[in-house]
């Protein structure tokens, strides 16, 4: 996939040359370019989403429904009422975390699809550890730490294979998802099975007292706060630290990074590990806040939706938050579309797909118009 490589390219700006007007012009140009980039970063995806909405409206009209009425219901189901908005927030929470599994490696030009597997195993490990701890606080902390670490290690495994053995990370993480789900099924139906779980094999429940509660004043669990915090941390790491700079440089040009003596292999392993932490934490939160036990219901597809989120956000952890809200909102409104318009369940998948394609296409718009202008002026 060529897309991965083109994303997150930020030209390593030239060192300001000493003295003279040339330097002033250079910094002014750089500043202008930076502003252009930040305008683009907002305008291009917005235009892409708007275009997708128009396309989807045509699709809806072709099925004989009024697109405006459909959009009105979608709004009502996702943001229009307090209940709907909380529904959206709740659905967005796990997506923020699973998206990081793809978003962070994407900055290095790697396309990782392993969020699903990391989440499933993170949840399984969290449930397995949770039952052995005692006070509510230690159960939660233990679950989150272990769940995140297992998720991190799982994706980092693919990172190691990529860095030291040249195994394509897209294929390996995709296949690892199936292995993770098989492992989950094996463990909950075998060694970790609660003998009382007859027709729905599950691990031992962690207990009602140990469950993760809701955010104060909201009907949304704490996973949302974890998601936002993780995205902010990841953004800080990628934009404001030398690690992040090095990582983005790898994504921009691996050869240049190698020539500059950057430890590319280690960066790959660390980035995949950090991304996996998010997805593993998502699994632990799912167990701690929703299920109270690990079972086949952990296989939700959040990992795959996370890939979509990460791509639409173009790998920017800060962009993951609004995009997760957008997709959470689409998910929240999907039910209403079925119930009110008798549209099939796949309708919202069509919308998600159109948005995805439209965002990928919009990649080619970056820097087009604006870049040509100065050349004409000169």
């Amino acid at each position: 996939m060529g897309i991965g490589v083109s994303i997150g390219v930020i030209s390593p700006v030239t060192e300001p040359s000493p003295g003279g007007a040339a330097a002033v012009v250079a910094t002014a140009e750089a500043r202008l370019a930076a502003r252009r980039r930040s305008v683009e970063a907002f305008a291009v995806p917005s235009a892409a989403i708007l275009g997708a909405l128009i396309l989807f409206g045509i699709f809806v009209a072709l099925t004989g429904r009024n697109p405006l009425a459909v959009y009105h219901e979608m709004y009502r189901g996702s943001f229009g009422t307090w209940f709907s908005f909380q529904n959206t927030l709740q659905r967005a929470a796990p997506l923020m975390l699973t998206a990081l599994a793809t978003a962070l490696p994407l900055r290095l030009g790697l396309v990782v699809l392993g969020g699903e597997g990391a989440m499933v195993l993170g949840g399984l490990a969290a449930a397995a550890v949770g039952v052995h701890l005692h006070s509510p606080m230690s159960v939660k902390v233990g679950m989150f730490v272990v769940g995140a670490l297992v998720g991190g290690a799982w994706v980092a495994g693919a990172g190691v294979l990529r860095a030291y053995r040249g195994v394509n990370e897209t294929i390996s993480t995709l296949l690892l998802n199936y292995i993770a789900i098989a492992l989950l099924n094996h463990m909950v139906e075998g060694p970790l099975r609660d003998p009382a779980s007859l027709n729905k094999p599950s691990t031992l429940p962690i207990g009602d007292d140990n469950m993760l509660g809701n955010l104060p004043g909201l009907d949304v669990h704490w996973g949302l706060a974890f998601g936002v915090a993780a995205c902010l941390l990841a953004w800080f790491l990628m934009q404001r630290t030398t690690f992040g700079f090095a990582a983005r440089m790898v994504g921009g040009n691996v050869r240049a990074a190698l020539l500059n003596g950057l430890p590319v292999r280690r960066l790959i392993v660390v980035a995949t590990f950090l991304g996996g932490l998010g997805a593993g934490l998502a699994g632990a939160v799912e167990v701690a806040a929703i299920h109270g036990t690990a079972n086949a219901s952990l296989v939700t597809g959040y990992g795959y939706t996370g890939v979509l989120v990460a791509f639409i956000a173009r790998g920017n952890p800060l962009g993951v938050v609004p995009v997760a809200l957008l997709l959470g909102g689409i998910g929240a409104s999907g039910g209403l579309l079925q119930r009110v318009f008798d549209l099939p369940d796949a309708t919202v998948n069509v919308l998600q797909g159109i948005i995805f394609l439209s965002i990928l296409f919009s990649d080619s718009l970056y820097g087009r118009r604006w870049a040509r202008k100065p050349a004409v002026a000169a």
């Binding site: 209940f83 027709n199 086949a296 219901s297 939700t300 209403l336 119930r339 369940d345």
Partner: protein, 366 residues
């Protein structure tokens, strides 16, 4: 309804929801929400429920709202809340087995005026909220009858069973099918393949082909959507008995019969009780006799002799005289699992914990 097969655990006069409907009888329609874990046109588990929903949609004073493909996560909690808050539903049928704990239990505690009716028979009096009901059918009775038809129809004496997971409900179907087949054809065996999950179309097709290659000439299944298996059997020119819903349309030549749910009857009963403001049973179970399950109409290939034997067994179920699980019964490793003289009737709790495959089944539970 026969008391023998149904536990009726009524707790003091119905739910607040049902009472309010007595008060405002006939004015606003009763809005009922149905939630399915898969597509409602899956020729299987979900379609069987959607057919039941379609039956009650025709009742006077009833409005239904349906949502399909709802996973067993917080998504189903939000769907329930959305139906309550945005659609005004007062009765919900979240139909997937995995919706019960924790999702329905959590929502039932939160919305005490809404009635939650769940498919799975998991209600425990005193432990679960009183606005919850749970129902299930003894579909293994229909599998027993289908097994008789399969046992009479097979030429190779080899039957095949493609199953999702080795859990008690599934094992009970495999065992009843085999016991039915062997009651008329002691040489018949059932070879089982477990696919590991409820909806694995590719694995199901592979399993079907592999069983057919081994000389099996009648296939059946316990997966969410039997579509792929039934179609594969038809294409390969062997016979098949269906499950969940009627799949005759998918295999006009090879479809012998099948074990089907009859949720329309169960849902109609519930709605009538709720509309009349009567208390509804919190745990409702039944088999062929109670009309919870049925046997698909026999296909063209079924011989007169097979029909006769199957009808005789059906009649015995309708009389309430049939006991499928009685000793001496050995599992397929030779161990006695039910001692001589012991009868385990459908309501016997021991059957809920089934962990063996009976003699005549080729396969392992793990």
């Amino acid at each position: 309804m026969a008391a023998g097969a149904i536990f009726v655990a009524v707790l003091g006069g119905g739910t607040p929801g049902s009472r309010s409907h007595r008060a405002v009888a006939a004015t606003p329609p009763l809005t009922i929400g149905f939630i399915y874990v898969g597509p409602k046109s899956d020729y299987g588990y979900n379609q069987a429920h959607a057919q039941g929903a379609a039956v009650i949609a025709k009742l006077p004073g009833v409005k239904i709202r349906e949502e399909e493909m709802v996973p067993e996560t917080s998504a189903v909690q939000k769907t329930m809340e959305s139906m309550i808050n945005l659609d005004g539903a007062t009765v919900l049928f979240p139909t997937s087995f995995g919706y019960f704990d924790p999702h329905i239990l959590k929502e039932a505690a939160k919305y005490k005026n809404v009635t939650f009716l769940h498919c799975g028979g998991l209600y425990t009096e005193g432990k679960h909220p009183t606005n919850v009901g749970s129902y299930f059918g003894y579909i293994d009775e229909a599998q027993y009858v289908a097994g008789i038809v399969a046992g009479m129809s097979t030429k190779s004496n080899k039957l095949g069973f493609i199953a999702a997971k080795a859990i008690p409900q599934v094992l009970r179907n495999i065992n009843s099918y085999t016991l039915g087949a062997r009651s008329v054809n002691p040489k018949a065996t059932t070879t089982v393949i477990f696919t590991g999950d409820w909806s694995m179309p590719v694995k199901e097709a592979e399993a079907a082909n592999s069983l057919i290659d081994q000389g099996i000439d009648v296939l059946t299944m316990h997966v969410d959507s039997p579509k792929v298996i039934v179609e594969t059997a038809e294409r390969r020119g062997i016979m098949v008995t269906g499950y969940h819903a009627n799949q005759a349309a998918l295999a006009p030549k090879g479809y012998l019969t099948g074990a089907e749910w009859n949720w329309g009857k169960v849902y109609t009963d519930y709605v009538e009780m709720i509309q009349a403001g009567k208390p509804y049973p919190h745990l409702l179970r039944g088999g062929l006799k109670e009309g919870f399950v049925k046997v698909s109409p026999y296909g063209k290939m079924v011989s007169a002799a097979a029909k006769k034997k199957a009808d005789a067994a059906k009649a015995k179920f309708m009389d309430g005289k049939m006991v499928v699980y009685k000793g001496p019964l050995k599992d397929n490793t030779g161990k006695v699992v039910i001692a001589a003289g012991v009868e385990q009737k459908q309501t016997d709790i021991a059957l809920e914990k089934m962990d063996y495959l009976v003699e005549g089944v080729v396969g392992k539970t793990h």
